[in-house]
Symmetry: C6
Subunit: 74 residues, 6 copies
């Protein structure tokens, strides 16, 4: 895998949230490297409420990590 | 995405809880940007007990982050 | 929403656990504000073992937050 | 509810784990207070592998709290 | 239950991971004490991808606790 | 099990994320040691959106541990 993560520091909480989204997506990408397969799955899970809630949960967990890494942008 | 998150600090725990709800919703919104699709899903998941419990779980995880960022409003 | 959460501090661990239950319920209430709908869901999820375990999990996550806020009542 | 939780401190990690089990059970009990209903559910979930794994997860989350409260029994 | 957990300290991260597995199994064992029943469940959940992922999640949560107890073996 | 985990320290956040993936896989491997069985499961779960999200969640939890062990690579 190419270099995609060099730091957990971000300038703002929003950028931190967006990094948490990136981390969540990368967890999927490492598990299913085929972009073709991932694209096929998208229409289904992005229209399934539970899948969306589960995705939001992974983002929340990663956001905890990113927020701690940034000392909560205090 | 427009600016929507500039700080994790809130004046009260309740505002912090409401920010945790916002973060949970934004996790869904980034994953499914179409408001039309999200609105269609709402009637179903908001009447499904497990979906509501899962949603409450995401809020709980985000509330951990917000509470820590506010030093638990001590 | 009216004021319902002014502090995460409680006098005892048990009161803290009960606050965690309140937080878990409020996560549901914000997502589904209709008391009528929530009452209809209750008979089903309260007789479903997995739903009860999931509910207990949300309480556990919120209890982590409340316990930290109270320095674990040390 | 009668007094059932006065402290998160335990003498040993094992007692702490058993307290985590108690907390997990109480999360269920507050949600479904009827002992009769809970007893009826037991044969099913205690023979369902996923339910058992979910139960173990709630225990793990509560054990994090109890362990932190005891400074990990260091 | 006999004594099975006297300390969260381990010599290495790998022993800590293995202790996390033990904790995860004990969460199941306390919930379903019958070894006979647990053995019957094994063929099914150990061949179900989601069950395996859920089991790995419980281990991950317990590993957080064990790692913190060992100051991350720094 | 052979030695596979001697330290939680990594040089970069990305290596830490990859270690979190390794930990998540090892949680599965300890639960289902047969490589043959695990390989059979792969085509299914790697094409199931929810399974991929669940896998990403386990990685996120383990990444919290690895990030803390590395003081968030600050």
């Amino acid at each position: 895998m190419n270099k995609w993560l060099t730091s957990l520091r971000t300038n703002t909480p929003q950028e931190g949230f967006e990094l948490a989204i990136k981390l969540s997506q990368m967890g999927v990408k490492y598990t299913q490297p085929s972009e073709e397969v991932r694209k096929k799955l998208r229409p289904k899970y992005s229209r399934d409420a539970d899948s969306l809630i589960f995705a939001s949960q992974v983002i929340a967990i990663n956001f905890q990590t990113v927020a701690a890494a940034n000392n909560y942008w205090k």
